[in-house]
């Protein structure tokens, strides 16, 4: 290598002048009473922050942004919880998807079967008829090249479909063997879904890794860039951290109502 890059040692002085040491904020979590709370800490050491919003029906956090749905509003918050945008939305819960860089991308409203895209600070409808897809979407994710990946629950199985947003054309479809609801599609192509023994993490390369659970999963939510919130049947919430070297399951604190 003819010329190496050089590190400018001015960093030390810059750090001393303006150190960037902040509380370790993992993301956001919707608690059992539909309040949205920041989640601080590190693995196995979680701290629930004070509730910042109530009446939240759905929420997802990429680590950079938070999308939260109340009865008739979608809120976009930044990683510190500051309100960035607020959009009027159809009633009921919502499914959210982020782009790979953590920016908000899609919102699907099951009550009216309407998909919307976040574009230039607005929520715009996408002319894609999910009713024609034979199945109820459980989760959606934005894929590269203008496609949405949706996991749909049909009569007997979960199916993954990649659909071009511009045309509604289903470009890829496959059945998930042994998969059951709930399911969560993440921006990097990872898919998490319920199985008879707990959860399965399906990596973008197709490799699958089981994750044992003490009870059946009821819901899966994106808590941060690499953590999935798992709510269990009969109570109990866990954070599943997705890591190439192995996944980690820790119990989450449960706020008292």
């Amino acid at each position: 290598m003819a010329r190496l890059a050089e590190i400018v040692l001015l960093w030390a002085a810059a750090l001393a002048a303006q150190p960037d040491i902040v509380p370790a904020r993992i993301g956001y979590i919707r608690d059992a009473t539909n309040r949205l709370r920041p989640l601080f800490g590190v693995s196995a050491n979680f701290i629930l922050g004070e509730a910042e919003h109530s009446g939240v029906l759905s929420a997802a956090c990429s680590g950079r942004f938070v999308l939260a749905k109340t009865e008739d509003t979608v809120m976009l918050l930044d990683e510190a919880g500051r309100l960035v945008e607020r959009w009027t939305a159809p009633a009921g819960p919502a499914l959210f998807a982020f782009a790979a860089d953590g920016t908000p991308a899609l919102a699907f409203f099951p009550g009216v079967s309407e998909l919307m895209r976040v574009e230039r600070g607005r929520l715009r409808p996408v002319a894609l008829d999910f009713r024609a897809l034979e199945g109820q979407p459980l989760t959606i994710a934005l894929e590269a090249e203008g496609r949405v990946r949706a996991v749909l629950v049909g009569r007997n199985a979960l199916r993954v479909r990649s659909i071009r947003l511009a045309t509604g054309l289903v470009e890829e479809e496959r059945e998930l063997d042994g998969a059951a609801a709930p399911a969560l599609a993440l921006p990097d192509g990872t898919l998490v879904y319920s199985s008879s023994t707990g959860l399965v993490v399906r990596r973008p390369d197709g490799g699958e890794e089981p994750v044992g659970l003490p009870a059946r999963a009821l819901t899966l939510d994106q808590l941060s860039e690499d953590r999935v919130g798992v709510r269990l049947e009969g109570g109990g919430r866990f954070a599943l951290r997705l890591h190439p070297g192995g996944h980690r399951l820790d119990r989450l604190p449960e706020a008292t109502p």
Partner: protein
């Protein structure tokens, strides 16, 4: 035993129109005419008869004299004369008949200047004694005291025949679900002259609180009274899994009981924290998880050998990110257990590292914790794709004061997130890896080389 008797009260002329004597029977009044017959009872039994003196006039009347004269008779619950009885008012009193032997008895009941002849009869009957309480009058209460639920208490009784003849005991029984007996006698029972027979009554309550029963002897009834108390709860013993704790950890706690619980109950489990360095401040992550907080309740079922928390026999907790001692205290009734688990000071632990390239800079993000809250130095060493060091060597930064200010204000224990931005001249793609070292009072932490 209150009985209605009727007799005639010979009223003084001045009072004849005003005071009238009645006997109460089952709540109704019957005017007294002539002789009052109280009836027949067992010798040594007691018969109370309630009389009512009613003022029928429109003016107050005064009771000047009230007495009963005769062997075996007395007044009970009678006011001290003189007593004024308002118009339309009434005054109740009891005439007690307690014959010491069998035979016929009579007495004179005097009300002011007037008299009534009262009489009663005592038939041969047994004398009942309770051990420690002597001879029992009819209606007397026999105390069994406090007995734990599941245990039993016992009182011994003696039936005696005080007469010179034979006595047949026709009826001897115990009522009340908490009582059992009589034990030690078989009916029909015949007692010869001056003979006695002992028996026992068992108090074995199954429900907490006062428990009443009765011992029924011929026509006489004796009140049985005992109190059922819950057995004490066993001593709780705290078990930690794992037994040794360190920071940034989740563990499970269960409570074993010193013996199978003989009663059910609930208790409280607390978690407290004593930092190694006084004044370090709070560490909110040291808590139970379901529900989140420093206090959880647990229950103990009768027969159980382990306590139950919401969801099972274990409860989860976090050890936080501060060195010190985590103290668990379980309180169950009057019993308690306490375990103090030390959390040793440790080098900085890193939970995640992310390195990203931007336009002319590298950004390193570290998330971790320092349970001593004493980070003093960071060192970054960059490497090219061939593994050779980049630049003039590792970048060392003294950060003690920055971290101290952060820990003082954050209130999150020893958790931190650090972002370090390194301006780069040349291509950032020529930098392929970084090694990070952090030092605190417990020693250095060197992360494995991070390739990006």
């Amino acid at each position: 035993m209150a009985r209605l008797v009727a007799g005639l009260l010979l009223l003084a002329p001045g009072l004849a129109a005003q005071l009238q004597l009645f006997v109460l029977d089952g709540g109704s009044e019957r005017a007294v005419k002539g002789v009052v017959d109280l009836g027949a009872i067992d010798a040594a039994d007691t018969l109370d008869t309630i009389f009512r003196l009613r003022n029928r006039g429109t003016r107050p009347a005064t009771l000047e004299t009230l007495s009963v004269a005769g062997t075996g008779f007395s007044l009970a619950g009678a006011p001290s004369a003189p007593v004024t009885i308002v118009a339309d008012g009434a005054l109740d009193f009891r005439v007690r008949f307690r014959p010491a032997a069998y035979g016929s008895f009579s007495a004179i009941l005097t009300v002011n200047a007037d008299t009534v002849f009262v009489r009663g009869a005592a038939v041969p009957g047994p004398v009942l004694s309770a051990e420690g309480a002597g001879v029992l009058a009819s209606g007397a209460t026999v105390e069994f005291g406090a007995v734990e639920r599941g245990a039993s208490g016992m009182r011994r009784f003696v039936l005696g025949n005080p007469t010179q003849g034979r006595l047949d005991i026709a009826s001897l029984a115990v009522s009340g679900s908490a009582y059992r007996g009589p034990i030690g006698v078989t009916l029909p029972l015949t007692l010869a002259a001056r003979e006695s027979a002992g028996f026992e009554v068992i108090f074995e309550p199954r429900a907490s609180g006062p428990q009443e029963g009765a011992l029924l002897l011929n026509q006489r009834s004796f009140r049985l009274l005992g109190t059922c108390v819950e057995p004490p709860l066993p001593r709780p013993q705290i078990l930690l899994d794992p037994p040794a704790l360190h920071s940034g950890q989740q563990g499970k706690l269960s409570i074993r009981l010193s013996s199978a619980a003989r009663t059910s109950g609930s208790g409280q489990l607390r978690i407290e924290f004593i930092p190694n360095v006084p004044g370090l401040g709070a560490d909110p992550a040291i808590q139970f998880l379901s529900p989140a907080g420093r206090v959880v309740t647990f229950t103990v079922e009768e027969g159980a050998e382990r306590a139950r928390f919401a969801g099972g026999t274990e409860t989860d907790f976090q050890t936080g990110t501060t060195a010190g001692a985590i103290v668990f205290t379980a309180q169950l009734g009057a019993e308690s257990d306490q375990v103090s688990a030390p959390v040793a000071p440790a080098p900085v632990a890193i939970d995640s590292v992310r390195v990203s390239r931007g336009g002319g800079e590298l950004e390193v993000r570290l998330v971790g914790f320092d349970n001593t809250r004493s980070i003093s130095q960071l060192t970054f060493a960059f490497f090219d794709p061939g593994g050779r060091p980049v630049g003039s060597g590792p970048v060392r930064v003294e950060v003690a004061s920055e971290f101290r200010r952060y820990f003082e204000s954050a209130g999150l224990g020893g958790v931190f997130a650090l972002k370090a931005v390194f301006p780069v001249t040349g291509k950032t793609a020529d930098i392929a890896a970084v090694e990070v070292e952090l030092a605190n009072s417990a020693g250095p932490t060197r992360l494995e080389r991070i390739r990006f």
